[in-house]
Symmetry: C2
Subunit: 189 residues, 2 copies
DNA sequence: CTACAAGATGAAGCATCATTCACGTTATGG
DNA sequence: CCATAACGTGAATGATGCTTCATCTTGTAG
């Protein structure tokens, strides 16, 4: 199931360089950066990008998937802390807050959050990660409701809805205010 | 202060056609439609677009400003109805709901709402319209607070924050749910 | 009715990009 | 150390899009 031939040493090194560079460039300039620019940042020729990824879309998707995994890791760590006694509601708001800050500085993750509903989601790599996020957050939500901090009719879909509409281009004060306004609506009762 | 020479008859007609076509095209395909496509839709040559607008950005801004005026009109009508006895809070939520639906179907207005904080706002035409919206909504907010339906610390900036983060690409059910979640956070007490 | 300024035209210039490919380079198994 | 498949290269290709300008057309003042 794994690769038949284990990738030559230099090829593996270049692949890593490309991923790093692509992540940096996309994070900074958004998915519309040119392949030339990514190649330059990685210190390779454009052709090399195409040796590793059939086309630009695939490269972008790979980067987005990586960013998205970070998000899933965060969600699962929240769940873990909750299991160790941390209040579920606090973990949820912490998660929301962190994602919001990340989105504000990282256009790749923004694309990722957005991609949940878009065509990127078709990619198999994405689907698995989405499941992880959904499961972790779902558990967190149920616990928060059981503990009485979160309104009873709140669902994972609602949480995704919040993620879609996070304010990305607003100053920190505005972002904090947005979260505060939202949270009063999510509190139980 | 007005134009020195009053625009030839055919020129005025073409200008109107261009504005209409540009509005339609941008509404449907977003601001990235080509000038060629707009020209074709207007039934003129590309060169004519440039006779009326120095560059694409200016044309897009003109269209966005138009859409934005519709929004200002709506806000002022809300204020008027409020003066005739309609509950301020109902007018506010109605306004939000309408803007949301429009954004969902009209990418030009989406750009407009977004432009409030972006560089488009630099244009003089925008500034005036922004003042109209801000005044009307500010009045509405104050009344809603006096009538006790709206939380006391809510400001016009908060309302803009909501406009920035309206869910555009979500199905109607999701949009409605989003509004409902938000509103429970805005209710007084 | 005429002259001419205002307006319209659209091919051409110029820039940006994604993508390809014929050729040079190199890691690595034997 | 060699043979060779894997890999890397970057100029070239073709597509698309904004903008310009020399040229033609037409509204309109007188």
């Amino acid at each position: 199931m794994t690769s038949p031939r284990p990738l030559r040493a230099d090829a593996a090194r270049n692949r890593a360089r490309i991923m790093t560079a692509a992540h940096e460039q996309i994070t900074e300039h958004g998915p519309e950066v040119s392949m030339e620019q990514i190649a330059a940042a990685a210190g390779v020729a454009v052709g090399t990008l195409y040796k590793h990824f059939p086309n630009k879309s695939d490269l972008v998707t790979a980067v987005v998937a990586t960013s998205f995994e970070t998000l899933a890791d965060d969600a699962e760590e929240c769940l873990q802390r909750e299991n160790q006694g941390s209040p579920a509601m606090a973990e949820l708001t912490g998660f929301l807050s962190r994602v919001m800050d990340t989105v504000a500085h990282n256009r790749a993750v923004k694309a990722a959050a957005y991609a949940l509903g878009a065509d990127h989601a078709a990619h198999p790599a994405m689907q698995e990660v989405e499941t992880r996020v959904t499961q972790a957050l779902g558990q967190l939500i149920r616990t928060a409701q059981a503990q009485g901090g979160l309104r009873a009719d709140f669902t994972v879909d609602d949480l995704y809805l919040m993620l879609f509409t996070l304010p990305a281009d607003q100053p920190p004060t505005a972002r904090a205010r947005w979260l505060a306004l939202l949270l009063t609506g999510l509190t139980a009762r």
